[in-house]
C-alpha cells in the first residue's frame, strides 16, 4: 500500500494547482456574478491535457488514471468548483465515447473533445425521472438509418453551450434494459434549449433543459448495442462521482485556507481569532475531516483504476462522504469569518453555494446510500 504521491502525481497536481491559482482563482467571483462560462480559459486547461484526462492517447487523450483525475479536479476546484466540475462533466461524457464507442466513433469525436474545441454534456435527467433515472421517457424510434428522438432532458450542465450531448434515450421496453446511449450534435434540427436556469451556485456554467422534437440522429451515433445505454450511463457516473467529490475537496480546502489566513489577522476580545482554543479545535476538525475524505477518495479512485468489483460502491461512498464533508467544511469556514463570510467579496459564500449542489447531482447523497446498502444487502444474502 502506497500512501505518498509519486513524483509524477505531484507534478500533475502542482500543474493543475498552478493553473487554478493563476488563471482561475483571480476571476472566479466575477464569473459567478456575471454568470460567465470562461471557455477560453477552459481551453487553455485543455491544452495541458485536461480535456481528456483518462481518454486513450491514440485520439489525443492524456491516457492518465482516475487517480490522476481526482488530483487534477481537486486542484482546479481550489480556484472555482463550478469551472472544475464543468470540465469534469465534459471528461465524463468524452470517456463514455472512449469506453463504449467504436474506433470510428472515437476518431470522429474525441480529438476535438480532448482539445475542447468541442465540449460535451451528459443528458440523463428528465423532468419526471431524476433519482429514478431508469424511468426516463425520451424516446428514439428507428426510421431507416436514423432514430427520431422526442422528449426533454432537464438540468443539463453546459446545455446550449456544448456541441455534443451524450443522451440516454428509450429505444425499447420500460426499465433500464430499454435504454440506449446516443451522441447527439447540438445543431441537429429539432434540438433546442430552455432558458439558463437561475441557481444558488454553479453560476459560472449554464444549466438548461435540452428539448428533442423529431430530431433525426444517425443510428451510427449510438454507443454500443441497443439496450446498454443505462449501463454506459452508470459506468460514466462512477468516475463522475469521484470527480465531483474531488471538486468538493478543492473548494473546501480553499475555504479552510482562507479561514486560517483570516484568523491570523482578525481580532476579538483583544486576541487574534487563531488564539481562541475553540476555534483552533474547529480548524483541527475541519482539516481532519478533509484529510479523511481525501484519503478515502484516493482509495475509491484506485479501486476504479483497478476495476475492482466493489468500485461502484466505493465511488458512491466517496461521493457521499466527500461532498458532505466538503459542504460542512465550507459552511464552517463561513462561520469562522463571522459577518464577513456572508459578504460575497470574501469568496467564502460562493464556495458554500457551489458545493451545495454536489450533494444533489450525479446521484443525490440519498441515492448513494441506496447504491451502498443494496450492495451490502446483496453481499449478506
Amino acid at each position: 500500500m502506497q500512501f505518498a504521491l509519486t513524483e509524477d502525481q505531484t507534478a500533475v497536481r502542482d500543474m493543475a494547482r498552478g493553473f487554478a491559482d493563476e488563471k482561475i482563482a483571480p476571476h472566479a467571483l466575477k464569473w459567478d456574478e456575471d454568470k460567465h462560462l470562461p471557455l477560453d480559459v477552459i481551453r487553455e486547461a485543455a491544452a495541458l491535457g485536461i480535456g481528456g484526462i483518462y481518454i486513450k492517447d491514440d485520439v489525443g487523450g492524456s491516457g492518465m488514471s482516475r487517480f490522476d483525475a481526482a488530483l487534477i479536479f481537486e486542484a482546479l476546484a481550489t480556484g472555482c468548483p463550478a469551472v472544475s466540475s464543468f470540465i469534469s462533466i465534459h471528461n465524463m461524457a468524452a470517456w463514455m465515447i472512449d469506453g463504449f464507442g467504436s474506433l470510428q466513433q472515437r476518431r470522429k469525436w474525441l480529438p476535438q473533445l480532448c482539445t475542447m474545441e468541442k465540449v460535451a454534456s451528459y443528458c440523463l435527467t428528465e423532468p419526471g425521472a431524476g433519482s429514478d433515472a431508469a424511468a426516463l421517457r425520451t424516446r428514439a424510434v428507428r426510421d431507416g438509418d436514423h432514430y427520431v428522438v422526442n422528449g426533454q432532458k432537464q438540468f443539463i450542465s453546459g446545455g446550449g453551450v456544448s456541441d455534443i450531448y451524450v443522451t440516454m434515450v428509450r429505444t425499447g421496453a420500460e426499465g433500464a434494459g430499454g435504454i440506449s446511449a446516443l451522441v447527439i450534435d447540438g445543431k441537429t434540427p429539432g434540438v433546442s434549449f430552455g432558458a439558463n436556469e437561475r441557481k444558488m451556485g454553479w453560476n459560472a456554467q449554464p444549466t438548461r433543459a435540452v428539448i428533442f422534437e423529431n430530431a433525426r440522429v444517425p443510428v451510427a451515433h449510438r454507443l454500443g448495442d441497443e439496450g446498454i445505454g443505462f449501463k454506459i450511463a452508470m459506468a460514466g457516473l462512477d468516475g463522475g462521482r469521484l470527480n465531483i467529490a474531488a471538486c468538493s475537496l478543492g473548494g473546501a480546502q480553499a475555504a479552510l485556507d482562507k479561514s486560517l489566513a483570516y484568523m491570523k489577522v482578525r481580532k476579538a476580545f483583544g486576541k487574534r481569532l487563531d488564539e481562541f482554543q475553540a476555534l483552533q479545535f474547529k480548524v483541527a476538525d475541519m482539516a481532519t475531516e478533509l484529510e479523511a475524505a481525501r484519503t478515502f477518495l484516493w482509495r475509491a479512485a484506485a479501486s476504479l483504476d483497478a476495476k475492482s468489483p466493489d468500485a461502484s460502491m466505493l465511488c458512491a461512498m466517496a461521493k457521499r462522504f466527500a461532498t458532505d464533508v466538503g459542504f460542512e467544511v465550507a459552511n464552517d469556514a463561513l462561520q469562522l469569518h463571522g459577518g464577513y463570510g456572508y459578504l460575497s467579496e470574501y469568496g467564502i459564500e460562493k464556495i458554500v453555494r457551489d458545493l451545495r449542489v454536489h450533494q444533489i447531482l450525479e446521484g443525490t447523497n440519498e441515492i448513494m446510500r441506496v447504491i451502498i446498502s443494496r450492495k451490502l444487502i446483496e453481499g449478506a444474502r
Partner: protein, 41 residues
C-alpha cells in the same frame, strides 16, 4: 500523436516517465524535450 511538439503537458509527462523507466532498465537512451509547466514554452 507522435510529434512531441504537439503533446500536452500530461501526455509528455506520461511519455517521459515511461521513458525514464526504460532508461533505468537500460532499454532506451535518448531524451524527449520536456515542456514542463504551462508557464514554460
Amino acid at each position: 500523436m507522435s510529434d512531441t511538439a504537439d503533446l500536452t503537458f500530461l501526455q509528455t509527462l506520461r511519455r517521459v516517465l515511461h521513458q525514464e523507466r526504460q532508461i533505468e532498465s537500460g532499454t532506451v537512451i535518448y531524451n524527449l524535450p520536456v515542456p514542463f509547466g504551462f508557464r514554460s514554452s
